[in-house]
Amino acid sequence: MSLVIQKGTSLRADAMQRLKKNRAAVLGLYCLGLIVLCCLVLPFTPILKDPNAQSLVDQNLAPGAKYWFGTDNLGRDIFSRVFYGGRISIAVAVLTTLVAATIGVTYGAISGYVGNKVDAVMMRVVDVLYGMPFLIVVILFGRVLEKQTAKWSQWVVDLFTAADATPAKINDVRTAVEPLVMMAPLFIAIGALSWLTISRIVRAQVLSVKKLEFVEAARSLGLSHTKILFRHILPNCVGPIIIYTTLTIPGIMLFEAVLSFLGLGLKPPNSSWGVLIQGGADLMLTNPWSLVFPSVFFSLTLLSLNFIGDGLRDAFDPKSSKD
């Protein structure tokens, strides 16, 4: 009962307090922070070489003084490619997961809360979407968007360049801007297609929570449905939401590479962790470094995210406040 009277802010402060006590989560936070910082800052420092510069004579080198993480099969510096790639992968993960979680949680919560016919229809829509051939949708999406993204990136380039800019300058701006513009539809595509399981899990959870005493109590206090759903029921579902959301991130980061091979999203020669791991997997025997380094950063990031997720789950669990 205390929950209903408590103010949101104090709950949040409480949660932060609890999060700070969770050692795994704190460690994860530091680790993730460091990786994100490196990906953001290093590309602006002279430590990193041009990630796309090739030197065919330096093909498949092992880590050494010149190339700290070795080189790939076109003689490109893996160290630089890992950090440039990290920017793309982390951006993809964050934005896509946000899209997917927002749609999935809202959809599942409404379906579970309203119930009956609405629930049946909404869940059958999810069934249809599950059955849809993802790959075909993505291919068609890619064809439709191809021309469009070219226009958008032109628009953005125009925005950032003066009318009398030299072709070289325009090219520089384009190189910087384009991967990001190409990524935008990707976020929407994957996000809009990967909310299904989240919605099922949230719905199942809402179904079981909505009959609990405190919900009845809230209802008897005359609170609106939206308030009951989003203030009282959803906080009780936060555990599975956080857990499942962190679970989908590795899949999404790797799926980004698959999309890149279908021409949607990242254009070669740019790198992302997904693309690097995919390329590295083929070089496993000849050049294990090209697989090991991206995988290590990828795994570290996801492990950190995960322990932070666990920490958040515990911290925001309304029930654990009774401990």
């Binding site: 049946a120 059955g131 051939p133 599975p240 679970l247 997997a281």
Partner: protein, 308 residues
């Protein structure tokens, strides 16, 4: 209960028809038309093929023709496999995918759920930390990395198990694909079970039971497991449909004649009948899987059952 099941099955048929319609028009929108090949086909030959497979009829006619055939259980002929019936393609490859999916799912359940329960029980202790790290690694190392490593080490270097191939009756050919595929699902299940268990463990009745001196393992198994499995059960429906309808990566890495390879090849070459056949099969499995998983949730969760 039976009435509810009946309703769900009826809804399932509607789902399949909607799915059929959407997929049909998606396929028709695919660039390149139905007879894409590396070397160009002579025009008149292409025209003959278009006529043979009814592609020169109005689209609505094609739609109803296919729908009618499907209702009669005939999924048509594959264009990529020069006229092999789609039913035959599915009949040859689905059993393989089904078998692989079932044993992998079994492995995932046997490993994932106990791991999740233990992690929840020993929350924030080192065993929890270890189990969850392993689970996360299971997710971070994609099958296209783990599969080749296993095949290279176990199959080639140590020569313990075959590096590729699948024999329906030979257990040693199952092991590597099963582990590679099952691991990912085990990781999902472990994480979901842990979180579900934690939700239940923090409820009042657990406290009461502990205060009464009921041993922890009894509390876990007798009282908490049911409620704790709800998130995992919600995930299981679609996961099961997915795992038994073929996994392209596993099939390619271990050379397994399952559905996944047919599906992707069909998309590459716009083989509409094969695409439709497999999509509908998968759609049917999703419908069934979700019905099973919803009933499982109801069974696991007495509260939800009471309200329905």
């Amino acid at each position: 209960m039976f009435q509810k099941l009946f309703h769900r099955l009826l809804q399932g048929i509607v789902v399949l028809i909607v799915l059929f319609t959407i997929t049909f028009f998606l396929c028709r929108a695919l660039p390149g038309g139905p007879f894409v090949s590396e070397k160009a086909l002579p025009e008149h030959v292409k025209a003959l093929m278009m006529e043979r497979d009814g592609y020169n009829k109005p689209v609505y006619e094609q739609y109803f023709m296919r729908l009618g055939n499907l209702m009669r259980g005939d999924a048509g002929l594959s264009t990529r496999l020069s006229g092999r019936p789609v039913n035959d393609v599915i009949a040859q490859s689905f059993p393989v995918s089904f078998q692989l999916g079932c044993i992998s799912m079994l492995l995932a359940l046997v490993v994932g759920i106990p791991a999740g329960v233990i992690a929840a029980w020993k929350k924030n202790m080192s065993i929890d930390f270890i189990v969850m790290t392993l689970a996360m690694l299971g997710l971070c190392l994609p099958s296209f990395v783990v599969g080749p490593i296993l095949a290279e080490m176990v199959g080639r270097r140590w020569k313990l198990l075959p590096a590729m191939g699948w024999e329906p009756t030979n257990v040693i050919t199952w092991l590597l694909p099963m582990v590679t595929l099952g691991m990912v699902y085990a990781a999902y299940l472990a994480r979901l079970t842990r979180s579900g268990m934690l939700d239940v463990l923090s409820q009042d009745f657990v406290r009461t039971a502990r205060a009464k001196g009921v041993p922890m393992h009894r509390i876990l198994i007798k009282h908490c497991l049911r409620g704790g499995l709800v998130p995992a059960a919600a995930y299981l429906g679609p996961a099961f449909a997915g795992i038994i309808s073929g996994s392209l990566v596993i099939e390619l890495v271990f050379q397994i004649p399952g559905l996944g390879r047919h599906f992707v090849k069909a998309i590459e070459t716009n083989d509409v009948n094969v695409i439709m056949g497999i999509v509908l099969l998968y759609g049917g499995l999703v419908v069934l899987g979700n019905i099973l998983s919803d009933f499982l949730i109801l069974w696991l969760n007495p509260r939800a059952r009471a309200q329905s």
